[in-house]
């Protein structure tokens, strides 16, 4: 069980931003921080790892207090049981694949643990390669194996797949899931890729300007709130004409004008120039006014 309750003021390009985050992450839970860049996702990961100090709050992992501003506790990253995969992987270029994975392990356990991780991560043939001879996907695997080597209480992934092409990304998502099932660390992933969130996570926290605006399972967060739309377009009302008891609303979507029927009641909210969203569930298109 991981308790997170942190606050930090960030100085961004457009002024101050208060980052506020509270969450309980269960054992073996896969949580994702989702949102556009610059909302504080990576900052949160760094605070959990101990690379950055929050202004105030509490971080407790499996009953151990890693950070408590009131009790003035702030464990150094060295003393926190974390595994972190960095965006640029941060592999040690002077060491081989096997040495990178085993570098943090006590000598007595090293050989066996490294052999297992090489096997599980599909890196056995590359064990003695230097890092500069690896592809992006291979580096990502090494980073993940290295982070898991010490069996951390919490695994932190900072957009680990963002630099890879789509095919490689899908493949590695599968591998990441398999590794997660095998070692079961509580995991926090930073991502801005919706399909990745759906495929990997149990819970998702949607961040915007430093705050969690929605959280829950991916399907709760991304579908329930949007009335399980089959499709949706945004557009602008260009013309409204009465046609008997109903109205025909002409809406510009992209370069096409679409005609949608509206009742008198629906029509009252619509004017020429109103920004709207057209969504369809099964048969009935709906028109919704956008801010």
């Amino acid at each position: 069980m991981i308790r997170l309750d942190v606050k930090k003021q960030l100085h961004t390009a457009d002024g101050h931003m208060d980052l506020v985050f509270q969450a309980h992450i269960g054992q073996a839970e896969f949580a994702t921080l989702f949102g556009p860049s610059g909302v504080g996702k990576t900052t949160l990961l760094r605070m959990i790892a101990g690379l950055l100090e929050p202004d105030e709050g509490l971080i407790q992992v499996e009953g151990i207090t890693w950070y408590d501003s009131k009790a003035k506790i702030n464990l150094s990253p060295r003393r926190r049981s974390v595994g972190m995969v960095f965006q640029d992987y941060a592999l040690f270029p002077n060491l081989t694949v096997a040495e990178n994975i085993g570098v943090a392990l006590p000598r007595s356990q090293r050989a066996a643990a490294v052999a297992e991780l090489l096997e599980v991560a599909g890196l056995r043939e590359l064990a003695n390669r230097k890092i500069d001879r690896l592809s992006g996907g291979q580096r990502q695997r090494v980073g993940l194996a290295r982070a898991l080597a010490r069996r951390p209480s919490i695994l932190l992934l900072d957009e680990p797949l963002s630099a890879l092409d789509l095919t490689m990304r899908l493949k590695l998502q599968e591998e990441l899931l398999a590794l997660h099932r095998r070692y079961q660390p509580a995991t926090v992933l930073v991502s801005h890729d919706l399909s990745e969130v759906f495929r990997l996570s149990h819970t998702v926290y949607v961040l915007d300007r430093g705050k969690v605006i929605r959280s829950g399972t991916p399907s709760q967060v991304f579908t329930a709130s949007q009335t399980s739309n089959k499709f949706r377009f945004t557009g602008e009302v260009v013309h409204i004409e009465p046609s008997g008891l109903i109205f025909v609303v002409h809406i510009l979507v992209g370069n096409d004008v679409v005609q949608v029927i509206a009742t008198e009641q629906e029509r009252t909210a619509l004017n020429v120039g109103t920004r709207v969203m057209i969504a369809s569930k099964a048969f009935n298109p709906l028109i919704m006014v956008m801010e």
Binding site: S76, L91, A104
Partner: protein, 226 residues
Amino acid sequence: MTPEFTETMVLTFKVAAITTGVLLVLGIPLAYWLAYTKRRLRVVVETLVSMPLVLPPTVLGFYLLVSFSPANFLGQWIEEWFDLRLVFTFEGVIVGSILFSMPFMVHPLQSGFSSIPVSLREAAATLGMSRLRTLFVVLLPNMKPALLAGSVLSFAHTVGEFGVVLMVGGNMAGETRMASIAIYDRVEALDYATAHQYAFVLFAITFSILLLVYLVNRRFSRMELT
């Protein structure tokens, strides 16, 4: 080649080798601190380390001579506690050379430390590696060109040192007479042949060392493709 010539050359390279060795041991922690600390004191220490670059060697030599003199407090203290006299002795030349060549070791090492991506140190920390282990397993192996540059520059600079050594050490054959002082000494005695012998050997050796460094560094930079 006279025995005196050999003796002076051997002494010169002995001083340079010892100075470089001591500077490596002192320079690594100092450069590490300078590269990573956030303290204000850093600027002061940085200035002190860089002083020999702009200070006339005779000025440094003069103050060392005065403070190491057994007639003064520091010289007296060193003599009482370490049974060591630093004026007009081999040890004094070493101490002077270390201080004077400090920037030539510390500057390359400092930029070597700074050039290592922050994420490598952070990764080592999240892996629970101690600072010392990170230094030896991650940092130093990834800054070999800086280590080489620092060592070679310190060595070459010590070989060519004149002012500080003359002030602190004087001109005693086999004890404090380094090659560059011998050149001056021979020219004063109008013995141009011997002076040329010293000068040419220094020239040739310095050239070969630097050539070697550039060749090795080219190999390093080719190895680090990414």
